[in-house]
């Protein structure tokens, strides 16, 4: 793995955490030979696209971005746990 590619996930994660458009700390970033893949769960489509935009600004031209972030849809609970 070339040096730039080795540090690319770190740079993208740092940008996703600190960029005003995202502030996302829990996006998983995987880099392969030709792809950068974003994985995780976000609350809405707008935030999913914001993460994509921030990442796109950092990846080299020869790489493609795969946005695998899922938009959450949390339902009400179906069970109760008794804690004692």
């Amino acid at each position: 793995m070339d040096c730039d590619r080795a540090y690319l996930p770190g740079h993208i994660k740092e940008a996703l955490a600190t960029d005003e458009r995202t502030h996302m700390l829990d996006v998983n970033v995987v880099v392969t030979d030709a792809q950068v893949i974003l994985m995780g769960i976000v609350p809405c489509q707008r935030r999913r696209l914001a993460a994509e935009q921030v990442a796109l600004e950092l990846i080299p031209a020869h790489m493609t971005l795969v946005n695998s972030l899922c938009v959450e849809n949390y339902k009400e609970p179906t069970e109760t746990e008794h804690l004692g």
Partner: protein
């Protein structure tokens, strides 16, 4: 047993409180925490709603205002702590004010006491901080930056300890954002545990004989764990529970086995060993 006597009403029916808990709702101007249906259904399944921090995405008061509009319609008591996201813009005081405008109680080294469902319930809350866990934690040693990091963690835990000590109620609950035990971090990379919680918090929870502790922050962690003394800890970060909130029941007046309580024995011994 004392618990059998105090934990039942006159007819022998267990006295329970139903707690809805969730953290890390990360409300933005582009999202909400709950659907109107989820808000409307809350009193059917819970007596108290706990919010375990990271209530906003970017730390803006205007995001909290959006959440406050939702919480204003919640007809049960709402108790919250803030999280690291809520501090990002330096607007934590305004965020707190927005939530309080909606009738929520926001805790930072403070306590909430109310009789709910016939049970005197006390919640002590604090955001907490990182620092790590016994055997793999930082110390107040070396550079000023390192000392400041751990000092902040220790002081937040001490404020929790003080708040818990002041609770006079049947049921004590600790509400945190950062984790008090490493058990609920399973799934996160071990390298970042020191940024996810601190054993100082767990020691405070154990020292007060809490019935349960709830926290968020660790999105990739695990829901269930216990403290060194056996207090149930639940990581209710929304990506962990994968629900709008989770419902837990707690019994009033459960007798605590004094031999199993934290006293400081085992935990303090471990701390001394680590240091």
């Amino acid at each position: 047993m004392r618990g059998e006597l105090q934990g039942t009403d006159g007819n022998g029916t267990p006295r329970l409180i139903r707690v809805a808990a969730v953290g890390d709702v990360h409300v933005g101007v582009d999202s909400s925490a709950f659907t109107p249906e989820q808000v409307a259904d809350l009193p059917e399944c819970a007596d108290l709603l706990l919010l375990a921090g990271d209530l906003t995405q970017h730390g803006y008061a205007r995001e909290a205002a959006r959440l406050a509009d939702e919480l204003a319609r919640v007809p049960i008591p709402v108790v919250a702590v803030l999280g690291n996201h809520d501090y990002h813009q330096g607007e934590q005081a305004e965020i707190r004010a927005e939530l309080e405008r909606a009738g929520a109680t926001v805790l930072e080294g403070e306590r909430f006491v109310q009789t709910i469902a016939g049970i005197c319930v006390g919640v002590a809350g604090v955001k907490g901080f990182g620092g790590g866990f016994v055997g793999a934690c930082g110390s107040e040693f070396g550079e000023e930056e390192m000392k400041a990091f751990i000092r902040h963690s220790r002081l937040r835990a001490e404020s929790l300890q003080t708040a818990l000590a002041g609770l006079e109620c049947e049921l004590k609950i600790a509400l945190l954002h950062y984790a008090p035990v490493p058990g609920t971090l399973l799934g996160e990379k071990p390298e970042i545990y020191p940024f996810l919680g601190s054993y100082f918090l767990g020691e405070a929870v154990d020292g007060a004989h809490c019935a349960a502790a709830f926290h968020g922050h660790a999105h990739l962690g695990t829901e269930r764990a216990v403290t060194a003394a056996g207090v149930p800890v639940r990581n209710v970060a929304r990506p962990v529970i994968r629900r709008a909130y989770k419902i837990y029941t707690l019994s009033a007046g459960v007798a605590l086995d004094e031999a199993a309580q934290p006293g400081s024995g085992e935990l303090a011994a471990r701390v001394r060993k680590a240091s």
